[in-house]
């Protein structure tokens, strides 16, 4: 069974149980701080060059998105010229139908997969499963998540919430159901775990006739698709099977090959904290005698053109899925990814998911508030997405909608008080009369404050009262 995010509670509720999970908190703290440290080092060593690369990354993406129709048509022509076939999918259902049909036509009942956010987004594995096709995840962390019937909790490291002892248990319990079992004496030594995964996957790579991938970039002028990875498992999927189907969001297009120069520096340094990732695979259509004989590119919209129509929110489409914002986020560090109820967790998820899915559900309306607006995400974003700005913008869309009656009343009351210095003074004087005798536990929403923190004493005299008295004394 493919796991799904459907039916999970809204962020504050999901976060409550996540925050209370001591083992997950420990795993996340350790992992995010390790990656943060590596990123800081390789970004820091570039000095002012980093600022220029970031500005250039932002510029290329912004420019491309502004002329997206043009670049997509060029991409289609280039892929076609190189011997590939391009399919356009308006939404998840269309994309899933296209991929399922393409696999069916090969007569195969299994596919190997390269790590791909787009296929997670459309829940392709579930759709294939319903059509009697088994999808095997081959990225190590995706494999762990799939074997454990778990959900990914991070864009780059989907199993970040698990410790190696938990991974060992999953391998021992579940590998045999999917293929080559884990060796009986398996320890939680990272090398032993990697070797078990290697043996398990190798059989699949050699057997599979069809592969499904995503792409980090799609180059319009050459029709080249690009995948960056660390393990080489993606390379196996991209080169060994006869048929390759790549599902790619329409925002992944870059105009020219030389634009990659910028992103090949921004992405590895921001994501894994490396100067260069171990494996970069590029392919343009098909090449006789070398790699897949049949190549299909499925270009996925699934809400992206709606995002493009929002002048503030559209910057989220610049995202290159590096995860730096997740790794730096103090909220993500404490809740993990599942609480965000989407394959895109963390700060980028909080602005991308509600825009892609629309804000009709409670889960999606809660996401823009899943941030203290500390701004660390914006600082580390390699394409300068002002995530706090978009969060506030989306909060406006929520606040303008129905519901939130209590909050609206509080905000209107506050505006009435702040609308006149006299009213503020009157409230302060009334509060001063009650003075420092506030109860230790306040009722209603304020109770959320006093559950864990003491409240300050209310002073007998406000600043403005003091100022008035002082003026009289001086005169």
């Amino acid at each position: 069974m493919s796991a799904t995010f459907l039916g999970l509670p809204p962020f504050p509720e999901a976060a409550r149980s996540a925050v209370g999970d001591s083992r997950t908190r420990h795993n996340l703290h350790k992992a995010t701080h390790t990656i943060r440290g590596k990123r800081d080092a390789v970004v820091g060593e570039l000095g002012d060059d980093w600022r220029r690369l970031r500005a250039e990354g932002e510029r290329i993406k912004t420019h491309t998105l502004r002329h997206l129709d043009h670049h997509l048509e060029r991409l289609e022509e280039s892929v076609h010229r190189a011997g590939g076939t391009v399919h356009w999918a308006a939404d998840a259902a269309e994309a899933n139908e296209i991929v399922t049909e393409l696999v069916r036509r090969t007569g195969e009942t299994e596919v190997v997969k390269v790590k791909s956010m787009a296929t997670q987004e459309i829940e392709l594995n579930g759709a294939l499963e319903a059509a009697g096709i088994t999808a095997y995840e081959t990225d190590l962390a995706e494999l762990i998540v799939q074997l454990g019937e778990d959900l990914p909790s991070h864009i780059l490291v989907p199993a970040i919430h698990l410790a190696r002892s938990q991974i060992r248990e999953i391998f021992l319990d579940r590998m045999s159901e999917w293929g080559v079992p884990a060796p009986p004496g398996l320890t939680d030594d990272p090398h032993a775990l990697a070797e078990a995964a290697r043996v398990h996957l190798r059989e699949l790579f050699l057997r599979a006739k069809v592969a499904v991938s995503g792409a980090n970039f799609a180059v319009a002028d050459s029709g080249t698709l690009v995948v960056l990875e660390s393990e080489g498992n993606g390379r196996m999927c991209l080169t060994l099977p006869e048929t390759l189907i790549s599902v790619v969001g329409i925002e992944k297009v870059v105009p020219t090959w030389s634009d990659l120069e910028v992103f090949m520096q921004l992405l590895p340094r921001s994501s894994t904290g490396e100067r260069m990732n171990p494996y970069t695979s590029t392919w343009s259509g098909v090449t006789p005698g070398d790699g897949p004989r049949d190549f299909h590119l499925v270009l996925l919209d699934n809400g992206r053109t709606d995002v493009l129509a929002d002048t503030v929110g559209r910057q989220a489409l610049r995202c290159i899925r590096c995860s730096a914002c997740l790794n730096i986020c103090p909220v993500y560090e404490r809740t993990g990814g599942h609480a965000y109820g989407s394959v895109y967790p963390g700060p980028i998820g909080a602005i991308l998911t509600p825009q892609l899915r629309g804000m009709s559900s409670e889960v999606d309306r809660a996401l823009p508030y899943a941030s203290s607006l500390c701004g660390a995400c914006y600082d580390v974003c390699p394409v300068a997405i002002d995530i706090p700005e978009v969060l506030v913008h989306l909060r406006e869309r929520v606040a303008e909608g129905p519901g939130h009656l209590g909050e609206k009343a509080v905000m209107a009351g506050a505006e009435a008080v702040f609308g006149s210095a006299g009213a503020l003074d009157a409230v302060q004087r009334a509060a001063g009369l009650v003075g420092g005798d506030l109860p230790r536990h306040l009722p209603g929403q304020a109770g959320k404050w006093t559950d864990t923190r003491d409240v300050p004493d209310v002073p007998a005299e406000s600043f403005r009262q003091w100022w008035k008295q002082r003026g009289k004394g001086q005169r």
């Binding site: 504050p12 976060a15 925050v19 209370g20 908190r25 103090p330 909220v331 404490r334 809740t335 823009p368 508030y369 899943a370 941030s371 203290s372 607006l373 500390c374 701004g375 660390a376 914006y378 600082d379 700005e389 506030v392 909060r395 406006e396 869309r397 929520v398 606040a399 303008e400 909050e407 905000m411 209107a412 506050a414 505006e415 008080v417 702040f418 609308g419 006149s420 210095a421 503020l424 302060q428 509060a431 929403q445 304020a446 959320k448 404050w449 559950d451 864990t452 923190r453 003491d454 409240v455 300050p456 209310v458 002073p459 005299e461 406000s462 600043f463 403005r464 003091w466 100022w467 008035k468």
Partner: protein, 246 residues
């Protein structure tokens, strides 16, 4: 210099000692402080929670209240950042608000910025014989880019021992309405911040924002840590003479 004080609604109502400290400090340095009494709130709570129109009305009120001031000093980095960074986003391009803020915005300063950049002082003649840690609040650190300024001011205070705060750049978890809308995450962040503070062995935690301090201080108090919190203005206003009298 004639300095207009924007004390902020939180300081005005809950932390008047901070406002008094700013007045005492700036007057001691030889400047005149005025308090335009029409001031209320910068509108940050409304803005950050998604209530743009009330925030815009409060921004207009601010612009009118402080129109023509030589300098506006704010003992809150996040309110100063609200005025400087977010007011321009509230007014339509070419509107009266955006024209006024283009003029007034650059003269709105957080207290530590004003002391170091405008008055050019780092030694304000203060005396505070305690072990202190400084928490660089998010808006001070990332929106205003206060950098070394608060540390320079604190290092020049006689008797003060400045300790290093581990994980200093990490948010304390206050975040305005975030602290109740996502109370559990906010508390978890506050707990970690308070733990880092207590582990330094400091007697006093200071910052440039009382709202963050209210959150961390409330947590420290609930933990019975014995660490007290105070706005940096109160440390900088404190002198040897006042200590002798106390």
């Amino acid at each position: 210099m004639r300095i207009a004080l924007f004390v902020t609604c939180v300081n005005d109502t809950l932390f008047p000692d901070t406002g008094r400290a700013v007045v005492r400090l700036l007057e001691r340095l030889g400047h005149e402080v005025v308090f335009p009494e029409n001031q209320t709130c910068c509108g940050q709570m409304h803005y950050n929670t998604g209530y743009r129109r009330p925030a815009a009305r409060l921004a207009v009120r601010f612009a009118r209240t402080f129109d023509g001031a030589d300098a506006v000093v704010v003992p809150s980095a996040s309110c100063a950042a609200m005025v400087r960074d977010n007011y321009p986003r509230l007014g339509a391009a070419g509107s009266r608000l955006s024209r006024k803020m283009a003029d007034l915005g650059p003269r709105v300063y957080d207290l530590t910025e004003f002391l170091v950049d405008v008055l050019g002082v780092t030694d304000v003649g203060a005396y505070f014989p305690h072990r202190v840690v400084y928490h660089p609040t998010c808006h001070g650190l990332r929106l205003l880019g206060l950098g070394e300024r608060p540390y320079q001011l604190l290092r020049a205070v006689r008797g003060l021992e400045l300790l290093e705060l581990p994980g200093a750049a990490e948010c304390c978890g206050f975040g305005g309405t975030f602290s109740v809308k996502n109370g559990d995450v906010s508390a978890a962040m506050g707990f970690d911040k308070a733990r880092h503070v207590a582990e330094t062995g400091a007697e006093v935690l200071c910052a440039v924002d009382n709202s963050c301090l209210m959150h961390i201080g409330g947590t420290l108090s609930r933990q019975r840590s014995g660490v007290r919190v105070t706005h940096i203005a109160e440390i900088l206003a404190s002198t040897e003479k006042e200590y002798a009298h106390a």
